[in-house]
């Protein structure tokens, strides 16, 4: 276990210390006084490595990350989990824009709100299944061009849910699944995807992740199941197959 005081430290130095620590077999890191340092945890490997972050981590947190767990005890900025491959990112506050861009594996749990363009270009393949779970609300362009993986939108504590769905919700979605606890008239957002009630199989699948999510933030799992789940799936894997050619 090591503790790094990141006050006034440039991101290059901070990330060098983390990489050096991992190479030397350190499994647990505590980063104190982080404020805006970019690229924390980028490209690092090691399923048993856990990095605790106190302060506001900078952009591209956990980009290309391949195994470790990052725990952020505050808000986090933009581009969290960019093209992440495996591991877990836990944000105990709000997240900025473009969470999980092109994400291809691992999990991102956010207790609060997330910004614009969550899960844009997210993808999955065989056992590679990226999962994002968001406790609060989200900005526009949610799940834009989503190609695979799972995003769960809980809207915990939002009474009227008005802000749960946003403009350009799931536009261009052609793979993966979105779960949410609100029945919305989906046809006003996208003609490329459809809304269904979540069935038993869905809930079985979700259980593992929702339990893990609830444990990560010390919230009661029952709270999450208080409202019924719905799912959004693409109507076609190739919505634009005939955009330029006749059928």
């Amino acid at each position: 276990m090591i503790t790094i005081d990141a006050a006034g430290m440039h991101y290059k130095e901070l990330n060098r210390l983390i990489r050096e620590g991992i190479a030397n077999g350190v499994k647990k890191f505590f980063l104190e006084n982080v404020n805006g340092q970019y690229y924390i945890g980028d490209g690092i490997k090691g399923d048993d490595v856990v990095i605790n972050i106190n302060g506001i981590p900078g952009n591209d947190l956990g980009a290309f990350m391949d195994g470790p767990t990052l725990i952020v005890n505050n808000n986090a900025q933009d581009n969290i989990g960019n093209t992440m491959n495996a591991g877990k990112i836990i944000i105990k506050g709000d997240a900025g824009d473009v969470v999980g861009y092109g994400m291809r594996g691992g999990r991102i749990y956010i207790l609060g709100n997330a910004g614009y363009r969550v899960g844009i270009h997210m993808k999955g393949y065989n056992e590679q299944l990226p999962v994002i779970i968001i406790g609060g609300k989200i900005g526009s362009f949610f799940a834009e061009y989503m190609a695979g993986g799972v995003i769960v939108l809980l809207g915990l504590g939002l009474e009227d849910y008005d802000e749960l769905d946003s403009d350009y919700f799931a536009s261009g979605m052609h793979g993966g699944t979105i779960y949410l606890r609100k029945k919305i008239d989906f046809s006003k957002y996208s003609k490329e995807a459809e809304l269904y009630e979540a069935d038993e199989k869905d809930m079985d699948f979700l259980k593992k992740y929702l339990t893990d999510y609830a444990d990560s933030f010390n919230i009661q799992a029952e709270e999450i199941y208080k409202k019924p789940f719905y799912k959004i799936v693409p109507s076609s894997a190739r919505p634009y197959a005939h955009l330029y050619t006749s059928a």
Partner: protein, 378 residues
């Protein structure tokens, strides 16, 4: 035509501009150390090819005069411009802008400032009757276009722009901002994309009391430029940001639109949203889009806009650039990154990400006068 001397390394790193703003609604003044600290957290968003600040409330002793900040590439340019100024303005005071040369900022133009007001018997009165503000705008355009090697980069009252080629924290030291006090500050860290990095090209861009710092690209520049040229604005600075300053001057000062409406012109709702509005609102937004279609800003942007009554921070309509806002007592902070705000205000009362196209507006509060016989609000 303005000649651009560019002696600076144009090598590029992958990055994006950074911006910050700090305002105290009760006009309590702070020195430049907070804004320097905040923008320095965003150091890696720029590449050293432009940094700058705008401060309001810094020229209290000359608050009724226009404060011209002018950069000169050579002394003949200074003599020529001063001849023009002497002919048309009463110059109450003029002096070199105080600077502190550091190892980081050593190559700079000659920087001079003038506290002036237009003469009432100046020559142009033979041909037309222009208000003082209009005459100042004309003079700024004239100098920037016709006087080689001279560039007016600040022309407002009781405010000033301080900018140049370098990282913003070094520019702050260069202009000794820690010795300057103001009730509103904006800052910019530049990463030039489409236009050269030169002293005049650093942000903020100002005209009269308007100042703009901008992160993004105005892809509607051509349309905006042609539109502004119809109103005799001269766009000589080879950068897109300039258009925002002049559009706001046109809409707010000349056409007298309320600030909130002018901002709607810059980032209007999409037609599909307008179609769903009802009655007056629909009519208003339709009219604005029809009349001011050429003033619409297309492309990604986050801007912080300062003027004599307050500050505005705003995103483009689909939020393609970052923007965070926070408030703490009478202070409001805006920045490209939350970390920049936390550096100077670790525990704000409120911190949030503004929605696309929805401005964060802060106006100065009028001083509350205690009522006779009791306290206000009692």
């Amino acid at each position: 035509m303005l000649k651009i001397k560019n002696r600076f390394n144009a090598e590029r790193d992958i990055s994006g501009c950074g911006l910050c703003g700090i305002i105290n609604a009760k006009k309590v003044k702070t020195n430049g150390s907070d804004i320097k600290k905040a923008i320095s957290v965003e150091h890696d968003r720029g590449n050293g090819l432009g940094g700058g600040f705008a401060v309001y409330g810094n020229y209290r002793d000359y608050a009724e005069l226009y404060a011209f900040h002018i950069m000169y590439d050579n002394l003949p340019a200074k003599a020529d411009v001063e001849e023009y100024l002497r002919k048309n303005f009463i110059i109450e005071k003029e002096e070199p802008i105080p600077i502190f040369r550091t190892s980081k900022i050593y190559d700079h133009p000659y920087l001079h400032r003038y506290f002036i007001k237009p003469k009432s018997d100046r020559q142009d009165k033979l041909f037309h009757e222009l208000g003082d503000d209009d005459f100042v705008v004309n003079s700024v355009m004239l100098i920037n276009q016709n006087y080689d090697g001279a560039y007016v980069f600040s022309s407002g009252k009781n405010m000033g722009a301080f900018k140049g080629v370098g990282y913003p924290e070094d520019i702050a030291d260069f202009y000794k901002l820690e010795e300057i006090e103001g009730y509103m500050w904006t800052a910019h860290n530049r990463f030039p994309t489409n236009t050269p990095g030169w002293w005049g090209g650093a942000h903020p861009f100002t005209l009269l009391d308007w100042s703009i710092v901008h992160n993004g690209e105005i892809s509607s520049y051509g349309i905006n430029k042609r539109y502004l040229e119809m109103y005799k604005y001269n766009l000589a600075l080879r950068t897109d940001t300039e258009v925002i300053t002049y559009i706001l001057d046109l809409l707010i000062r000349k056409h007298r639109l309320p600030v909130r409406i002018a901002l709607t012109v810059l980032a209007p709702p999409f037609y599909q949203k307008i179609d769903k509005m009802d009655g007056d609102k629909k009519e208003l937004f339709t009219a604005l889009r029809q009349i001011y279609g050429s003033a619409l800003l297309n492309g990604p942007f986050a801007i912080v806009f300062g003027y004599s009554n307050g500050m505005v921070a705003m995103n483009d309509r689909i939020k393609l650039r970052p923007l965070v806002a926070a408030s703490s007592g009478d202070f409001t902070y805006v920045a490209s990154e939350e970390a920049a705000i936390r550096a100077v205000c670790p525990s704000p009362d409120m911190i949030w990400s503004p929605k696309a196209g929805e401005p964060v507006m802060v106006e100065f509060e009028e001083k509350k006068v205690p009522q006779k016989g009791g306290l206000i609000n009692l």
